[in-house]
């Protein structure tokens, strides 16, 4: 699924329902994989950018049917894999099996449930397998070796390596342990690896790919541009910069 890939994140429905699709399509032009986030009232793994995006979208009454509608349209018009990212509660409330079936129907390729660790993911894994949806699980810098092996076993999409200790949100540097961890995962895991959290620059992306990662996930910086400068061109420039870093 991944090879020197740019994975871009956008919160579904953001910045407004009207403008969302335009931005999503722009991201698709530059990306190898799209990660679409289900907005949640209390996104505790996310920093202020994505939290703000979630809140804004929910304030306008955005709902999960609309997330699925966006995906249905997007997958009809684009031939690019889409990962649906969510906190567990919206999935739990809809019913795990229902949610996964609906996701499959509209064309979701893979799912990442941030606060559903492997211990509680038994049903999720088997429903996803039945529906042919790939599972993406998180690994962190502090995940012990044995646990990485267990996560690698249940992952069918790719392993999402969280680049640092903290929440999502644009940062300029990389954690000193990151490169070592990428190499370690590459030498021990059968799954592909993507690195995310805090990546905001082409130069960071390049280093991550050079270390052997198969992909880089970028989100908050893109939302920061959409929110702050509201400039289509600035967003294009950022995506070009990231892409250059990754593909060079």
């Amino acid at each position: 699924m991944l090879h020197k890939s740019l994975i871009t994140y956008l919160t579904a429905g953001y910045p407004t329902l009207r403008e969302h699709y335009k931005y999503l399509s722009l991201l698709a032009e530059y990306s190898d994989v799209i990660e679409l986030g289900v907005p949640f009232s209390d996104p505790m793994a996310d920093g202020k950018t994505i939290e703000m995006a979630s809140r804004k979208v929910l304030k306008h009454g955005f709902n999960i049917n609309q997330v699925f509608e966006i995906i249905r349209k997007f997958k009809r018009e684009h031939d690019i894999p889409l990962i649906l990212m969510s906190y567990y509660n919206p999935i739990y409330r809809r019913g795990l099996r229902n949610f996964i079936e609906e996701a499959k129907t509209v064309g979701v390729d893979g799912m990442l449930v941030v606060d559903l660790p492997p211990e509680y993911a038994g049903d999720y894994i088997s429903f996803a397998r039945e529906e042919g949806i790939k599972t993406v699980f998180l690994v962190s810098l502090n995940t012990p070796h044995k646990r990485v092996a267990k996560i690698d076993d249940i992952t069918t999409g790719f392993i999402y390596l969280v680049s640092r200790y903290g929440t999502t949100g644009a940062k300029n540097d990389l954690h000193p342990m990151l490169i070592t961890m990428v190499k370690k995962l590459k030498s021990t895991c059968r799954n592909k690896i993507a690195v995310g959290f805090g990546v905001s620059k082409g130069e960071q992306a390049q280093k991550i790919i050079k270390a052997g990662s198969d992909g880089v996930v970028v989100g908050s910086i893109l939302l920061d541009i959409i929110e702050g400068e509201k400039s289509y061109r600035k967003l294009q420039e950022k995506l070009e910069e990231l892409r250059r870093g990754i593909k060079s």
Binding site: M44, A45, P90, R93, Y120, L138, I151, V162, Y165
Partner: protein, 393 residues
Amino acid sequence: MKFGEFGGRYVPEILIPPLEELEESYEKLKNDEKFKRLLNHYLEKYAGRPTPLYFAKNLTRRVGGAKLYLKREDLLHGGAHKINNTIGQALLAKFMGKKRLIAETGAGQHGVATSMAGALLGFRVEIYMGYEDMKRQRVNVYRMKLLGANVIPVKKGTQRLKDAINEALRDWVASFSNTHYLIGSAVGPHPFPTIVRDFQSVIGEETKRQILEAEGRLPSAIVACVGGGSNAIGIFYPFLKDEKVKLVGVEAGGMGINTCKNAATLTRGTRGVFHGMLSYFIQNEEGQIKKVHSIAPGLDYPGVGPEHAYLKESGRAVYTHVTDDEALNAFITLSREEGIIPALESAHAIAYGMKIAAGMEKDEVVVINLSGRGDKDMESVMRRLSLCSTNLS
């Protein structure tokens, strides 16, 4: 890890290792004689345990039913039961080599108790508190500052307890190598609900001893207020096997159970997964957590501890609710009848305790957990009473 199907550890991967470390350290420490001696030393000499079980004669006379006993957690250092847990967890954090404590607080009582334990045992302390709560519990904010803690206002979301927990979790994700998250209620991912319950169980253990001494029998009912549920689980837990003792949790009915302005999670909520646990939450049909309301900031939380969800489900405990106004009336009644000003949180338990006692035989006994004192609430009560024109003069 679970209470029936409730509880668990629903957290991002990054928090799994620190939670495992915490669980291991706690399991190692909890039966350690030296640790138990140290904890008891501080509970007795510093916090003021045991607290009395007080027969509220005037209140009993006024109600005209069962005998009402009050478990006086309000007399503890700091003014609430919270110190039982903060000293325990701070000692645990010390053992784990942590240098910094972070905590969430709603009413400010847990923040104060954490600040005290931090000052006592030499930790740097940072407290997350919703901005709305800071406004209505100003005195506690000042107390925390005086005790050397840094109080961080949370101006996001509903600006209340839920949002303070979110921010504390975000802090912990980045800081766990040197920081212990000293959670104050029986909520959150495993092992927090178990740790908090164990440290609060001293309330129930003492109560059992004391009521047997005073009455030669166990009470017919025990009543406690439930926000996250730490004081309630603390007094319930040692009685779980005494099936004749009715356990009653009282949630915040706010402006009424049929309005959207309440925090009666077990009555009005539905199952969900949030703050690391499977439990009941006040949420919409899409799983978005809703804003809740209670006059008592410590009950103003859209979730509830998983063990309470389990006790409700199994039928061992029952959960009910009283409104802001009923709590306020009980607040005044207890002040007038017994000369005890309860915390608004505890006033919910008083209100319901009086209600059921009225319908019971005179030789029956009801114990109410008076989890905290009401000094912190003076400002909000004054404001509220002048608005409602309930005349105190």
